[in-house]
Amino acid sequence: MKKLLALLLAGCMAFALCACGTPAEPADDGGEAAATGDTIVIGVFEPLSGDNGAGGKQEVLGMQYANSVCPTVEIDGKTYNVKLEIADNESSNDKAVSAATTLISKNPSIVLGSYGSGVSIAASDTFAAAGVPALGVTCTNPQVTEGNDHYFRLAFLDPFQGTVLANFAKDELSATKVYCIGQLGNDYDQGLLNYFKQAAEAAGIECVVESFPENNSDFNSYLTNAKNAGCDAIFAPTSISYAQLIVEQAAAQGITMPMLAPDTWDSNVILGAAQGKDLAIYVSTFYAEGGDPEFEAGIKEWINADATNLANNGGNDMLAAVTVMGYDAYFTALEAIKNAGSIAAADVMAALPSTTLTGITGPIAFDDIGDAARDSAFIKTANCTNNVWDFVAVQGVQ
C-alpha cells in the first residue's frame, strides 16, 4: 500500500513536470537545427501564459503565419530556412530574464517581442549583453528603446497613445472628468496612466487616478468610485485579464459611461465579455480589420485550418491588431537580415536602423531612438450586439 502510494505520488510529480514544460515549448518541430549552417533562428520572446497570455499568443500567431507564408530567406544566393524559437516570458518581469537567456542559448539572429513593456525592459540587458538585436512588436513604453542601440520597435509609443486617447475623450466624448485605473507596479499601465493624465489635463479634462494590486479581481468598489466621483468616462490601460473583469463588473453595476482603452483591449476576449451588454468601449490600436482584405483572408484560412491556432486566437478567427503587428515584425526582421547580408546578430543589428518596409499596418521606418515612425492610431469601438469591432476614426495627436 505504501509503495503504491509512493508510486502514485511520483506519478503526480512527473505529471507536474510535464505540465510545467509543455506550454513553453515551440509549436513547430525540429530540435538541434539552430546550430546548422542553413537555418536562421528568429527568437520569439512573448508571454504565452499569465495576464498577457491571450495577447501574446495572438501576436505569436501573426509571426507563425508569416513564417508559413515565407519560410525561407535568401542571402548571397544561399537559401536559409527560418526557424522561430519561442520562449514564454509568462507576463512576469521576474521570469522574463530566464526566458530571454533560454532564447539566447538558441543563437538567434534577432529576437521579436514582447507583448507588454515590463518584460521587454526586464530582458533588455540580457539581449544587449549577448549582442542580439530585439524588435519590440507591441510594447509601447518609451523606456524599451530609450538609451540603447539594440532594442527597436514597431508600435507607437505611450505618450502618443495617451495623447490620442485624451484627444478622443475631449473631441468625441466631450468628457470633462475621467476615471483612470491601472495595475500597481506594471510599467505599461502606470506609463499610460501618466501620459494620458498629462495630455488630458492639458486639454482641460480632470483625471481621477487609482491603481489596483496584482491578482485583484474585485473591481466593484473602483467602479463605484468612478460613479461617485462624477466621472463621465473611464480610462483603463490594463491587461486583458483585468479588462475582462472590469467590463463584466461595469455591466453588472449598470455603469454606462464610455470606457477608453489602449491597444491591449483590442482583443476578441473583450468582445466576448461585452457581448449583449449595454457598454461603450473604445480602443486605440494599430490596425482596423478590413485594411487589407487579401491578407486577412489568408490568415483567417490559416487560423481556421488548425485547432491549436484557433484556440490560441480565442476560439474564433477575428483578427487582433497584435497579430497583424506580429506578421509585420517577422517581415521587418527578414528585411533586416536581407539588408545585413548575414545571419550574424551583430550585422542584423547594424542593418536594422536603415531597414524600411511597407507592412500591413503601414510604412515602417525607424527613427534615431529605434522606434517606428507612426503618426496616427485607429480608434475602434466594441459592437456589443454583433460581437465585432467597429471602426470609428483615425486619430492623430493634433
Binding site: S49, N216, S221, G272
Partner: protein, 295 residues
C-alpha cells in the same frame, strides 16, 4: 441622506458578498486546522480547480448537471489530496505535511496552467445568480444578495452538524485530542475524510458564487482569495467556525470600505496588516480561546 446611501451602498454590498465567499473558503482552512493541526495551503487552489471544472462542465452539460458535477468533483479532489499527500505523512513532523500542502498547491496551479494554456477562462453564466438586481439605487448581480444568505444557511447547517450529530461529536473529540479519541474507538480516517468533504463542498459553493461575480478563472485565481480566507480564519481564531465566518465578513467589508476611501493601493495591504496585528495582540484570534467553539 438617501444620496449618501445610494453612493455608499455598493461598497457595503460588494464587501458583504466577497466576505461571504471568503467565509466559505475560510471554513475549509479552519476545520482542517482544527482536526489535523495542518494549514492546508492547497485549499485556495482546490477552489480555483472548482472554477475550472465549472468552465469545462458547463461547456457541454446543462447548468444544473454541471453544478452537481463541480461539487462532486471538488469533493473527490479534496479527499484524494488528503489520501495521497497528507495521510502518508500523518506520523511525520507537522512541518513535512505543511510542505506537502505547499507542493500540492503548486501542482494544482501548474496543472491548471497546462490545461488552460495560460489563458483566462470565461466563467459560464449561472441563471438567476447572474441576473441584475437594484437595491437602494445600486445595481448589482443577484449573487451579491444570495451570497450572505446562502453562507449563513450553510454555516447554520454546519454548526448543527458539528453540535448535534454523531460525526460532529467525533469531530469535536478529534479536535480536542487526536490520540485519545483514536483510543476511544473513533475512526480517525473517516472523521478526517468528512472534514475534507465539508471543506471542499463549501469551497465548491464558494467558487460558484465568487466566479459568478468575477467571471474569469486563471491558474492563480485561488491564491488571493485563499490567502485572505486564511487570514480570516486566523483572525477569527483558527479552528473556530463562527470565528472564521466573522473574520471573513470583516475582511471583505473593510477591504471595500478602504477602496471607497480612495486608498485603493492599500486594500490588500490592510488584510495582511490585520494578520500581523492580530498575531501580535491576540494570537489566538477573536474566538480562539473558547475551546467549545473548536470544531
Amino acid at each position: 441622506m438617501s444620496e449618501f446611501i445610494s453612493a455608499n451602498l455598493p461598497y457595503l454590498l460588494a464587501g458583504i458578498s466577497v466576505g461571504g465567499q471568503y467565509a466559505l473558503i475560510a471554513i475549509g482552512y479552519t476545520m482542517v486546522y482544527g482536526i489535523l493541526r495542518l494549514i492546508n495551503f492547497a485549499h485556495g487552489d482546490v477552489f480555483m480547480v472548482a472554477g475550472l471544472v465549472m468552465v469545462t462542465a458547463a461547456a457541454s452539460l446543462p447548468i444544473g448537471v454541471a453544478i452537481v458535477l463541480v461539487i462532486v468533483a471538488t469533493i473527490i479532489l479534496g479527499v484524494v489530496i488528503e489520501r495521497v499527500a497528507y495521510k502518508p505523512l500523518r506520523s511525520a513532523p507537522r512541518m513535512s505535511v505543511m510542505i506537502s500542502a505547499i507542493g500540492v498547491s503548486y501542482l494544482l496551479q501548474n496543472c491548471a496552467l497546462y490545461f488552460t494554456g495560460g489563458l483566462p477562462q470565461i466563467y459560464p453564466t449561472i441563471p438567476f445568480l447572474s441576473n441584475s438586481v437594484t437595491i437602494g439605487g445600486a445595481t448589482t448581480k443577484m449573487v451579491t444578495v444570495v451570497t450572505p444568505i446562502l453562507t449563513l444557511i450553510l454555516i447554520f447547517a454546519l454548526v448543527t452538524l458539528i453540535q448535534k450529530t454523531k460525526i460532529g461529536m467525533a469531530m469535536r473529540a478529534v479536535s480536542k485530542d487526536f490520540e485519545t479519541s483514536e483510543l476511544m474507538g473513533i475512526k480517525i480516517n473517516k472523521v478526517i475524510s468528512m472534514t475534507f468533504v465539508i471543506g471542499c463542498f463549501l469551497a465548491a459553493v464558494g467558487s460558484m458564487l465568487y466566479f459568478t461575480n468575477y467571471p474569469s478563472v486563471i491558474p492563480t485565481s485561488g491564491a488571493m482569495p485563499g490567502l485572505k480566507a486564511f487570514v480570516a480564519a486566523v483572525f477569527g481564531g483558527i479552528g473556530s467556525v463562527p470565528g472564521a465566518v466573522i473574520g471573513a465578513f470583516i475582511i471583505g467589508i473593510c477591504e471595500n470600505i478602504i477602496k471607497g476611501l480612495g486608498l485603493t493601493v492599500f486594500s490588500d495591504a490592510f488584510t495582511f496588516v490585520l494578520l500581523i496585528v492580530i498575531l501580535l495582540v491576540k494570537p489566538t484570534g477573536i474566538f480562539g480561546e473558547k475551546a467549545t467553539d473548536k470544531v
